[in-house]
Amino acid sequence: MGFFLETLFGGLMVGMLYSLIALGFVLIFKASGVFNFAQGAMVLFAALAMARFAEWIPAWTGLANKALVNVLAFIVACAIMIVVAWLIEKLVLGKLVNQEGITLLMATIGVTYFLEGIGQMLFGNDIYKIDIGLPKEPIFLFEKAFQGGVLVNKEDLAAAVIAAALVALLALFFQKTATGRALRAVADDHQAAQSIGIPLARIWVIVWSVAGIVALVAGIIWGSKLGVQFSLTLVALKALPVVILGGLTSIPGAIIGGLIIGVGEKLSEIYLGPFFGGGIEVWFAYVLALVFLLVRPQGLFGEKIIDRV
């Protein structure tokens, strides 16, 4: 029982991180109808920027205060991601307006490769370290209830909290601010939004910037857990089933989907894995999502599609 809870917690916390990345997907899809495969590359790129500047800033300026350095590095990384967003809008999306979703998807795969290449070229391809002082050692709960107690990883906990906070923040941003309303307007109907004078291009830059910053936060969390390294891009592949499970256009979908997948894959790995020789979590998430789609082709919270002719 204790162990089950451990797994459950572990799954939920990982799930929260999946949600965070899935959120990036959903934001962009809602606003620009682009299924942004490059989300993972953006995570890597942002994390690399953060990690490297956290090294370079002290080297250049001789700053000692670690917290301050991290803040500075974070700001620089944000700036970089905004530039990236702007470039993507200018050079890619701006030129592919009104194209089919599939075309846009392929374009973002192109962007993925480009970012991976330039990211490693600019920032190197070693394992880098992001240290924002997240606690590493585990804590044990309910030690009386269960022998050995229930292990909860402080770092995961902190990560989950950060993720949750960010999600809340974004939800607020969407609901309350003028930009948020504009975003939703665009999401509902590009033409209409344009006609009432909402500048699409700017909206897109904003959305991609936000997605870029979400990617940065995700990158920092994963980075401080695993170290910043090429493989961070793979994290995005874990988020894909989340997105389609939750529905491409739904923020709550991304969150709940993330939790479902997170818990689902960990439980499956621990309790079903042994019968299959282990390692099933890699595809379990996808099969789960696939089976789910067969029941609801538009995902958990996605809108129903009606053919009009």
Binding site: F3, I127, Q229, F230, S231
Partner: protein, 446 residues
């Protein structure tokens, strides 16, 4: 208008590709007759780059040093070309095909998967494969694998030594009875190769093994370590490469598994695996085939003849690190094989693959030679024979103290009584699968 020009560009891109194709038809300038060519298969990008890069740098620096210091091998200059495999088998094969055309006389594939693919091609192309400490365990049987040279050790010897050491810790192999040992391995030929020995030993000493495969590249280990946490094994054997190693250590820390109960293969015990965990990896143990540090003469020479001249392949501080040094050893062995071949087939000549193969098969690096080469203390003497393509495994355990690696054991050997028959069996299986026959004594002379 713009699009017209862009289309123009596109058209010309296509044209370039076509031209390039034709240019490829005639591979650019072969290494001149007077140069011994070494193809360098490397991976400097992707999940395995952190470990692949120092290895590759070591190989390249050693060549540069030999050229600069000795002017080559008995006057034969060494030329080389790198090819990025990204640790991917098919790209490795492509690199092999590309570079062997330039007169390659030996290849260090730097990846087990690639080794497997090349093992069938090498005999056809007559190019020996140097797979120091990796590759096909069975290939130490030189009578079956004429062209493979897993010098200094295979995964089987590695596994065997680890079990022996753990046994010693427990105060005798018999004490392993009833113990639980978890095997966390990279789910690839690399990680699976040692399993037979582990099972054999488990049968012998009656300890229980828990298999925990990790899907490449190895960033997803949460579930793995939750399982470790659940079964609380007495020891964890780590068979990782690249980012998998550091991730494993971080997850171990996260579930609070004692690092000093973890033992890694010699590919899981280098600086990149632990440096950004620092204290968190304190107490973690791993095999190591070679020393690290900048004191040995060969390292000094490299600093003197290569890095001080600004010719260094990588950063200076990396010189002498574990994997860098292993790269040196591998390149040194390759070059010594050529030197040995020259002794028989003519000094100052460029050696062919077949001649170098003979060189590998008749290596006799005694302490004197090693000292002369500047490898005193870096590695143990090594000699091969027609039947034995490995030489002996003599390996030590080193432990991470939070800032550096320290050796905690003296040299250990694998138990050939156990391994020899296993090697023979699997070598024979390979031969029968491939419808090949063992080499006869006469062939050994060649």
């Amino acid at each position: 208008m713009l699009f017209k020009t862009l289309k123009g560009i596109a058209l010309s891109t296509a044209a370039v590709a076509a031209v390039a194709a034709s240019m490829l038809a005639t591979p650019p300038a072969f290494a001149q007759a007077k140069e011994q060519f070494f193809p360098l298969l490397v991976y400097r990008t992707g999940p395995y780059a952190p470990n692949g890069t120092p290895w590759a740098n070591g190989k390249q620096d050693y060549i540069k040093m030999i050229n600069a210091r000795d002017g080559g091998i008995n006057g034969v200059k060494i030329s080389y070309e790198e090819c990025e495999t990204g640790y991917a088998t098919d790209r490795g094969v492509e690199c092999y095909e590309r570079l062997k055309g330039k007169g390659a006389s030996m290849i260090d594939p730097q990846a087990t998967g690639i080794t497997f693919a090349l093992t069938d091609k090498a005999p056809v192309d007559k190019i020996p494969l140097l797979t120091l400490g990796y590759g096909l365990a069975a290939s130490q049987d030189g009578n079956a694998f004429k062209w493979n040279f897993p010098l200094m050790g295979s995964y089987w010897t590695a596994m065997d030594v680890l079990i022996q050491y753990i046994g010693k810790k427990e105060g005798g192999l018999d004490k392993l009875k009833g113990k639980k040992i978890a095997f966390v391995y990279h789910d690839s030929p690399f990680g699976k190769e040692p399993i037979p020995v582990l099972q054999e030993r488990a049968k012998m000493h009656g300890f229980e093994i828990q298999m925990l495969p990790v899907t490449a590249p190895g960033v997803e280990q949460k579930a793995t370590w939750l399982q470790v946490r659940q079964n609380r094994p007495d020891y964890v054997l780590l068979w990782g490469w690249g980012v998998m190693n550091s991730t494993a250590l971080k997850e171990a820390q996260a579930v609070g598994y004692p690092r000093d109960k973890m033992y890694g293969v010699w590919w899981s015990g280098a600086e990149p695996d632990v440096k950004d965990i620092g204290e968190g990896a304190k107490g973690y143990n791993a095999l190591n085939l070679n020393t690290s540090g900048q004191s040995p003469k060969v390292i000094q020479d490299i600093l003197k003849y290569v890095h001080d001249k600004g010719q260094g392949t990588g950063p200076k501080e990396e010189v002498g690190s574990v994997l860098y040094t292993r790269g040196l050893i591998i390149q040194m062995l390759g070059i010594e094989a050529v030197r040995r071949a020259q002794e028989r087939f003519g000094k100052g000549k460029v050696m062919t693959g077949e001649q170098v193969r003979w060189g590998f098969e008749n290596l006799a690096l005694d302490q004197k030679k090693l000292d002369a080469l500047g490898f005193a203390g870096v590695m143990r003497p090594l000699s091969t024979s027609c039947a034995d393509h490995m030489g002996s495994t003599s390996v030590r355990i080193h432990t991470w103290d939070g800032s550096k690696w320290n050796f905690v054991s003296d040299f250990m050997q694998a138990d050939e009584q156990i391994l020899k028959p296993m090697v023979k069996v699997s070598a024979d299986k390979y031969l029968s699968d491939k419808k090949l026959t063992r080499r006869d004594a006469a062939d050994c002379g060649s």
